[in-house]
């Protein structure tokens, strides 16, 4: 079979591409964009599968080392050896020069599986990430009640986006799998399906199977892919719908019959609906990407019309159609079913912009230090910094290609790349305390544009005069792949999220214990679902396994004063706790033994930020008249509160 990449340029015989795509991937210069790529030897499937299996086991070895407390340099090294052994052959299978379509598709499926393995091995038997507790509990409650929209104590907004719970409960009910196993299956299927969406979209837009494969590989190693978007949470599920909405709209923009275009847009609308009912942020980013592409396509058409070029109309209409449908669905959903979403999302952007502004005005105090308090090996930190720089170089290469007119991307490709450049805009927000999370969350979406950009560069490498030889090209490709892989993962989640380890107080993941779970379950069996005051880490177990409703302390509701102060709670706080039925306090005395890894025990408002709670603040609870210890283990203590006497105390009396 003649590779699409080595035959002379001609109108595409791929029915998905048409007249518009002749602009894409078609060089105007003397050499073709596809000439010169070496006939890469295909890795055979037995070797690819063997490498994948060995790499998987090596990753497991790295987790074993970290769990046993080995040196971070060692287990990071072992981890990356496993990742490269597993991913390089599979990636080569996808982008190799003469691979058949079936092999390429199977390679994408394998790549998707392998990029989900690290997260699965991190905690295969139950939730461990903060969001996983929330969604697992949500699915458990929906399964028990048979109704969606159950209240969620960990992340309240989850109640209003029932897509993940609906799919999990359906899978669990139909198959008999546990809620956790069903959730893992749903996330895995969504993850792999998402990579195919990237492949389909890029293949049609760049008129190249190889380009589609490159984009799928690059997207598969985006900063959110390997841990964050493979956790059991709503973004992981919504991402597949997000990507397919973009892919189907891109297909609708190709020269197809009007009936087929309408059907593709109908399918895009259906997947957009899947985004809307599953995740709020994915809906926002879907609207953003569709808006950017629609605006770009419209602008390009206006410019073309001004110049007198004739452009088919459909690329403009399809993007505006899907955008309008998504905005309509999103508005209706938020308006009728999910009003709290507006309140939930609004603080983040504004406060992070304000923080960046204040940092710029002052000397920068109050910001975050990148990679502070980090056990990451220095080499990985270097590569983490190099990943955005590498992408910046590729952006420059695209600019050079366009200026030299070696490639004229079609408007939709332009739009996706413009959207992808938002990745660079997000980088400064890593320095703002409340912006860092938002910046990281954006990468899973903006990286679609980055993937298209990288594929474009790979397909249209500059002129033969300074093109490296075949061997050096392979070295360059592997280097870029390795830089992005290591840098993206390194810039994503922190060490306790990525690696199991000995108990470490103050982390969402490594502060979890069977002891806390047992207390939560006994507590629930004894009193049912009640409200409790507890620290952020014990709260995860209490809410997930005990069904409790944990207080969300704030300056206006300083419930933390029960443990973060050596005095009795003030009358006002006692009154709030009594009136809101917060009758229990759960303490883990390890709060007093270690400084919390995350720097706080009760969120960023904790009055003892960066400090361990003085042990006498905790031990005095056994002597006060308003608390009685009713359940106890070596480390955890459940106190029944009776604050009525303080709440009703006359003013002025101590």
């Amino acid at each position: 079979m003649t590779s699409l990449l080595t035959r002379p340029p001609q109108p595409s015989d791929d029915w998905l591409a048409g007249a518009s795509s002749t602009r894409v991937g078609r060089s105007i210069g003397p050499s073709t964009p596809t000439a010169g790529w070496p006939r890469s030897p295909r890795p055979s499937w037995p070797w690819v599968i063997a490498a994948a299996a060995v790499g998987t086991v090596v990753i497991g070895c790295s987790y074993r080392l970290s769990a046993l407390g080995a040196s971070a340099d060692l287990y990071y090294l072992v981890f990356w050896i496993g990742m490269f052994v597993a991913l390089l052959p599979a990636g080569a299978k996808v982008v190799a020069g003469h691979v058949s379509r079936t092999d390429q598709l199977l390679g994408i499926m394998l790549f998707g599986w392998l990029t989900a393995v690290p997260k699965f091995l991190r905690n295969p038997t139950g939730p461990r990430y903060h969001d996983e507790y929330a969604h697992w509990r949500q699915a458990v409650d929906v399964l028990a009640s048979g109704q969606l929209f159950e209240p969620n104590a960990v992340i309240p907004i989850v109640q209003f986006f029932p897509g993940t719970a609906a799919l999990t409960v359906t899978t669990s009910s139909l198959s008999g799998l546990s809620v956790w196993s069903a959730g893992v299956v749903v996330v895995l299927v969504a993850h792999i399906a998402g990579l195919f969406a990237v492949y389909v979209a890029t293949r049609s837009l760049l008129d190249s199977r190889r380009g589609g494969g490159i984009a799928a590989i690059v997207y598969g190693i985006n900063p959110s892919a390997i841990y964050f978007d493979t956790q059991y949470a709503y973004e992981s599920v919504a991402m597949a719908f997000f990507l397919w909405t973009v892919a189907l709209t891109a297909l609708a923009g190709q020269p197809v019959s009007p009936g087929r275009r309408r059907r593709l847009l109908l399918a895009a609308t259906m997947t957009a609906a899947g985004v809307v009912v599953t995740h709020h942020l994915s809906t926002v980013f879907l609207i953003a990407i569709l808006g950017v592409v629609a605006a770009t396509v419209t602008l390009c058409r206006l410019v073309a019309r001004y110049r007198g070029d004739s452009e088919p109309r459909y690329p403009v209409a399809v993007w505006w159609t899907t955008l309008t449908a998504t905005v309509t669905l999103g508005t209706l959903w938020v308006g009728f079913f999910a009003r709290p979403t507006l309140v939930y999302l609004s603080p983040y952007f504004g406060s992070s912009v304000d923080q960046l502004s204040s940092m710029a005005d002052t000397d920068g105090d109050g910001g975050r230090e990148l990679m502070s308090a980090n056990v990451q090996p220095f080499a990985e930190q270097l590569v983490t910094a190099a990943a955005p720089a590498t992408l910046a170089v590729l952006v420059v290469v695209v600019a050079v290609l366009v200026v030299r007119r070696r490639v004229r991307p079609n408007p939709a490709v332009w739009g996706l790349m413009v959207f992808g450049c938002a990745y660079f805009v997000s980088l400064p927000f890593l320095l703002a305390p409340s912006g860092a999370e938002g910046a990281r969350r954006s990468w899973g979406f903006t990286y679609l544009g980055i993937a298209v950009l990288v594929a474009l560069v790979a397909l249209h490498w500059p002129a033969a005069a300074w093109r490296p030889g075949p061997a050096w090209r392979k070295v360059l490709a592997v280097s870029v792949f390795g830089t992005l892989l290591v840098g993206n993962v390194g810039g994503g989640l922190n060490d306790p999220y990525r690696f199991p380890g000995p108990f470490r107080w103050g982390t969402d993941t490594n502060s979890a214990s069977d002891e806390a779970r047992a207390v939560a379950e006994v507590f629930h069996a004894r009193v049912g679902r009640v409200s409790v005051v507890t620290n952020a880490y014990t709260g995860l177990a209490m809410t997930a396994y005990g069904g409790a409703f944990a207080a969300a302390p704030s300056p206006g509701f300083p419930a933390w004063l029960l443990t973060q102060s050596g005095e009795d709670p003030p009358k006002e706080l006692a009154a709030m706790l009594v009136s809101s039925d917060y009758d229990y306090l759960v303490v883990d005395i390890r709060m007093g033994e270690e400084v919390p890894f995350n720097g706080h025990n009760y969120g960023q408002g904790d009055p003892l930020l960066g400090q361990a709670t003085p042990m006498n603040f905790l031990t005095r609870l056994d002597t006060v008249s308003w608390a009685a210890r009713v359940i106890t283990t070596e480390h955890l203590r459940v106190y029944r509160l009776d604050l009525r006497s303080i709440a009703t105390r006359p003013q002025g009396r101590p």
């Binding site: 109704q147 029932p162 799998l177």
Partner: protein, 305 residues
């Protein structure tokens, strides 16, 4: 992937396609029966596949169909066009998930509880409707002929894929096995009476006998009733005359193998009226005398009138 048609079906393309449409509906019906009758989990997991792919594939056919022979597109149909695996299977899976989402939301709107039966009936019913609509559309020529599935796939290819899947799954299982699972050993002590949990003070008369019930649970440890000691303090002062009742140690037949020891202490209330804090400490021990992590004391209040 090579496909060979069943020779006996080759007499009529429409018959082949009709039987090709029946096969997935048959698989769907079988899956529904397996789920509704609570078949073993392994079978039900396999039953998920038709319940996902049949409605998804039908919806995909309605959305994409196949190219009509009378299309105006001048491009000839290529192998890519007839057999786009990148678009077909993943899109069928995703649209199948959309059907599942719609089914769950629809049941919620109709106030029908989400159960295995209600979900199976809804998903299967939707799949049947979608399949019939796609069949009608095909008959009307709205969408072109779909490839029937009454063909025999290349068994070697599928066998190789299955073998690869087993190898990959085995490697994941091995990786899970080599990761250490921390074995926590701890005990949990809880008051068994309801008054402490209701913040209701136990009101007694002076020198009245008071009984306090408790439960001790051992996780990853064995409990020995004979070597377990109990101590009581009232307002920090030890109470000497206490009678202790200990039940037998019961062990739950579960992976956690939780041992449970129920007990009670009976003491005499103080003679002086007032409010007192009673502290109960149970020091567990294993049958062979090895140290067991102590849980610490529990407290309750006593109002002596």
């Amino acid at each position: 992937m090579m496909r060979r048609a069943y020779p006996e079906l080759a007499t009529s393309p429409m018959n082949a396609r009709f039987l090709g449409d029946l096969a997935p509906l048959g698989a769907l019906a079988l899956s529904a029966v397996l789920i509704v009758t609570s078949a073993p989990t392994a079978l039900r997991v396999l039953a998920l596949i038709p319940l996902l792919l049949v409605p998804g594939a039908a919806l995909k056919r309605l959305v994409l169909g196949e190219r009509r022979r009378r299309d105006h597109d001048p491009q000839p149909r290529t192998e890519d066009e007839r057999n786009d695996g990148a678009l077909g299977l993943p899109l069928a899976v995703l649209l199948g998930l959309v059907v599942w989402l719609g089914a769950a939301l629809g049941l919620h709107v109709l106030r029908i509880p989400l159960t295995a039966t209600s979900l199976t009936v809804t998903v299967a019913g939707t799949a049947v409707v979608l399949t019939l609509v796609s069949f009608v559309d095909r008959r009307r020529g709205v969408i072109g002929a779909a490839q029937g599935i009454g063909t025999v796939p290349d068994l070697r290819r599928w066998g190789a894929v299955a073998a690869a899947a087993c190898v990959l799954a085995g490697s994941v299982a091995l990786a899970c096995v080599i990761m250490p699972v921390p074995a926590e050993r701890f005990t949990l002590l809880a008051l068994a009476d309801s008054k402490p949990f209701a913040a209701v003070t136990n009101s007694v008369s002076a020198r009245e006998r008071v009984r306090i019930n408790w439960v001790l649970r051992g996780y990853g440890v064995e409990l020995g009733a004979g070597l377990t000691t109990v101590a009581v303090r009232i307002d920090g002062r030890p109470v000497e005359q206490v009678s202790v009742d200990l039940g037998p140690v019961a062990t739950e037949q579960s992976p956690e193998a939780v041992a449970e020891l129920a007990g009670a202490v009976t003491l005499t209330a103080p003679a002086t009226p007032g409010r007192y804090t009673v502290e109960l400490t149970v020091t567990p021990s294993s049958p062979d005398g090895t140290r067991v992590p102590p849980p610490g004391p529990v407290t309750t209040n006593l109002e002596v009138s």
